[in-house]
């Protein structure tokens, strides 16, 4: 049986599934129930200085749905905890005392001056918490007050605050990054330079989920007005995976521990984050959508997959996908594939035909009887037909073996690797060896 125990910058948990800092971790009552349900750890809902902030008294969430109202994306305009600091600290201490084997990380957001950070850290330390997470991510509300993503968008501030914190506490310091920037490697590098033990990402993506077409207010609407919120849930996973991968493979940040966040909904999502280098994953929207019990599926699913693949523990596969992420210019241009339609699986809907004919390379023929066939002399292997086909595995990309002829170009497929850097059409090409 796979060993799911995790040791993330010295913070131990029985499994790598943590609840992200958000409403699920806002109170003692939730967190106790989360631990009872099996979560490996929590990042407590972000604490701030007193007087505590207030939230709007109208709707905080907006959403995007797929079929059967499956929630695909959630948007929120909630701020950090709206309860007094001492109440939170007391509760954190009580829970940690009763659940010593679970990871208890406390998220923090205070004004961007050294005194504020230095003064809050000992209070957290006193609870027995395992670590802190600096919330430089919240993109709404707090950022207008010079906190959250207002700090996270300026690498120099990140480095500065990380350094203050490292100097003021013995606890591991995790810096939570905002995705609302152009190059995630900059803030990650700054966190590392400031001495942070790890980064966690992503926080939410600035967003407006919808506009009410009756009164022209954005949703969620507070008295006819709305402000942008933070987007999370399954819809943001691809953005998060890319950012995690960027940090994992950049020479400047390679090896920096990462807690992966963003759209983790099933064990598979978690395994993907970990394959890209995440030591733990954090979950918010999936828990908010389905409740705490999903952790049972996460734990069982990851263990089942690890057993199937023969991964004894998390280190066995963590980061295994990282070496396979490269720049476009290094992709093998001599790799040639063609779409193949398995006629026995085809249900004749013609979606591949419409997509290819209208928007791609006119490489699918529609024959009498609604039979769809790939024209090898037109197919560029773009994969669109595979993506729009409603039947799994009906269309696949089949690699042409070296020596075969690509009917589109008339060229023999070469066994050699060759990329753009040496391509004749590249004005900056270096002569191939």
């Amino acid at each position: 049986m796979a060993d799911l125990r995790s040791d993330f910058v010295g913070i131990r948990s029985p499994n790598p599934f943590w609840l992200a800092s958000a409403p699920p971790t806002d109170k003692e009552v939730n967190v106790r129930r989360a631990f009872a349900a099996g979560w490996g750890g929590v990042v407590w809902k972000t604490l701030g200085l007193d007087p505590h902030i207030v939230n709007v008294n109208g709707p905080r969430y907006g959403a995007i749905w797929g079929a059967d109202r499956r929630l695909l994306g959630l948007n929120n305009i909630e701020l950090i905890t709206d309860r007094p600091l001492d109440v939170n600290l007391r509760e954190i201490k009580a829970v940690k005392r009763d659940w010593p084997d679970r990871a208890m990380v406390v998220s923090l957001m205070v004004p961007c001056d050294e005194e504020s950070w230095r003064s809050i850290l000992p209070l957290v330390e006193e609870t027995g918490a395992d670590g802190v997470e600096l919330n430089f991510g919240c993109p709404h509300g707090m950022s207008e007050r010079g906190m959250g993503s207002a700090v996270g968008q300026v690498p120099e501030y990140i480095e500065m605050v990380a350094r203050w914190c490292k100097a003021a506490t013995r606890m591991p310091v995790i810096v939570k990054l905002t995705p609302n920037i152009t190059d995630i490697r900059q803030p990650a590098g700054a966190a590392k330079a400031g001495g942070a033990d790890a980064v966690s990402l992503i926080n939410t993506v600035s967003s407006i989920t919808s506009v009410n077409l009756d009164n022209f207010s954005p949703e969620p609407s507070i008295d006819g007005k709305g402000s942008h919120g933070g987007y999370c849930g399954p819809a943001v996973k691809p953005i998060a995976l890319n950012m995690v991968a960027e940090i994992a493979r950049d020479p400047a940040t390679r090896g920096l521990p990462i807690s992966g966040i963003g759209g983790v909904t099933t064990w598979r999502d978690a395994a993907e984050f970990m394959a890209l280098g995440s030591g733990t994953v954090q979950v918010c929207t999936a828990a908010m959508t389905y409740g705490f019990r999903i952790v049972e599926e996460l734990v069982a699913g990851l263990a089942t997959w690890m057993d199937e693949k023969g991964h004894a523990d998390l280190d066995d596969f963590r980061g295994r996908a990282v070496p396979n992420i490269t720049d476009w210019q290094y992709l093998n241009l001599n790799y040639v594939a063609k779409a193949r339609i398995d006629q026995s699986l085809c249900i004749h809907c013609g979606r591949c035909y419409a997509a290819c004919e209208d928007t791609s390379h006119q490489a699918i023929a529609m024959k009498p009887g609604r039979v769809f066939e790939v024209k090898d002399d037109e197919c560029v292997a773009c994969n669109l037909c595979v993506n729009v086909c409603p039947v799994e595995d009906c269309i696949s990309m089949v690699e042409l073996a070296p020596g075969e002829i690509d009917a589109r170009t008339g060229k023999v497929v070469s066994p050699d690797y060759a990329n753009w850097t040496s391509h004749p059409n590249n004005p900056a090409a270096k002569a191939a060896e």
Binding site: D68, C349, R351, A354, R370, P390
Partner: protein, 439 residues
């Protein structure tokens, strides 16, 4: 003592009011808004969609389903109604299992097609409460007589009126609707939907309805031709094939008559039905008669069909419905004689191997086919129906025909609508540009 299913003879009120209400409730209740979204989400928006191809009126199914997905059932209804003005009735009565839903790629893939019929009902229901979504074109000055206010005549009249023509719609019966009103099983069209749909349709304007006018009796084809620019005949099949075995006094009657009685009853508790009912036939009418007899409280209902099950024109869906309702279907059973027996009769059947058997019947309903009623002699016939070429052109210039009375077609509501609509387009086109300036 109140009558029960076991009360001998033919009596009314075999079931309580509650039981009748439950038995005759909507057989396929409308989808809720959420159910409709879930059902609509299953559509793949097929290229050159096979469902549309399979629809006799060529409704753009993937488009109307997409419009439900995007939250506009009224726009969806417009897509449906622009092809099929009786899209509401068709959503209820079409044997979708042999039309669009049979063609749906998800039927092939998982044996579970997109619920096109129910989605169509969801969309058209949204339109029914509202005004006609269509506006008439400028007047052409042309006048057309449409005879028969069944699906064929109604679709023809509506399309002609839309195109700016003036239509007079004649029907022999006191009410319009044809078999929508008198034939379709009661549990497929509840809450007087047929009438509501006709009223909604006529709202388009330009159609004068004249009920109680029978072609060949109160009006002649010659007068109609003389007084109109064109004539369309959608007179359905008003005759019935007889069994030819009926001894005097036996309670044998056409199934369509029984069904019409059920449809027109204000109080189903007042419709008499036999304790033991034998229905002879193997089509939709036989099933409808058998099922409705059972639902009225008949104790034993048997449908006897002369050939094998595979030859029955009732779809497997209909056959299953009969089975679920507790109606027995006997195949390879040819009726060879009827004898009086007390208040009922004994019907004798022969099997292909020569074996014979008898069934007791308080009431025998025959559903062995409808036939064309009296038609003007001048019209050429073919195979017992009015001969037509192209979009319903008869042998007489200026006279078109469509629906059940015309040659070809499937004798379905939806084909009648398609033929009525196409004849209207052909009639309108036959006027040429001259018609547009008025006459």
């Amino acid at each position: 003592m109140a009558p029960s299913p076991q009360t001998p003879g033919i009596v009314a009120g075999r079931l309580t009011e509650d039981a009748l209400r439950e038995n005759f409730a909507d057989i396929a209740p409308p989808l809720t808004a959420h159910e409709a979204l879930v059902a609509a989400d299953r559509c793949y928006f097929c290229y050159d969609a096979p469902c549309t191809e399979a629809c006799p009126t060529s409704i753009d199914v993937p488009l109307f389903i997409r419009q439900i997905q995007s939250g506009q059932p009224e726009a969806s209804a417009r897509t449906i109604l622009s092809q099929n003005i009786l899209g509401g009735m068709c959503a209820r009565v079409c044997p979708t299992e042999t039309l669009c839903e049979e063609a749906c790629v998800r039927e092939a893939a998982e044996g579970k097609p997109v619920e096109i019929g129910r989605l169509q009902r969801f969309a058209t229901d949204a339109a029914m409460g509202r005004a006609q979504p269509f506006r008439r074109a400028a007047p052409t000055g042309r006048r057309i007589a449409v005879v028969g206010a069944g699906p064929a005549g109604l679709a023809c009249a509506h399309r002609l009126a839309l195109l700016g023509n003036e239509v007079t719609l004649f029907d022999a019966r006191p009410k319009p609707g044809g078999l929508n009103e008198f034939g379709i099983a009661a549990y497929k069209s509840v809450d007087n939907f047929a009438q509501a749909e006709v009223d909604w349709l006529l709202d388009v304007g330009g159609i004068t309805l004249r009920c109680g006018e029978r072609l060949g009796e109160t009006v002649s084809l010659e007068t109609l031709r003389a007084g109109h620019d064109a004539v369309f005949l959608g007179i359905g099949l008003s005759g019935v094939r007889a069994l030819g075995l009926t001894p005097a006094g036996a309670r044998i009657r056409p199934a369509v008559e029984f069904i019409a009685e059920v449809r027109q009853a204000d109080d189903l508790g007042g419709v008499p039905v036999g304790r033991r009912v034998v229905v002879i036939g193997g089509g939709m009418t036989a099933i409808d008669a058998g099922v409705q007899a059972k639902k009225l409280g008949a104790d034993e209902v048997t449908i006897a069909y002369r050939r094998g099950r595979e030859k029955m024109s009732a779809s497997s869906y209909e056959q299953e419905l009969a089975a679920t309702e507790g109606v027995r279907i006997l195949t390879d059973s040819v009726p060879v004689g009827v004898k009086l027996n007390g208040t009922g009769s004994l019907v004798e059947f022969a099997r292909p191997d020569g074996e014979t058997f008898t069934l007791h019947a308080d009431e025998v309903l025959t559903a062995i086919g409808q036939t064309l009623g009296a038609t003007p002699e001048a019209l050429a016939l073919s195979g017992g129906k009015i001969a037509v070429t192209g979009a319903g052109r008869t042998s007489l210039p200026g006279v078109w025909a469509g629906g059940d009375c015309a040659e070809g077609g499937d004798d379905l509501t939806v084909t009648a609508v398609a033929e009525g609509r196409d004849a209207a387009l052909d009639i309108h086109a036959s006027f040429g540009d001259a018609g547009l300036s008025g006459s």
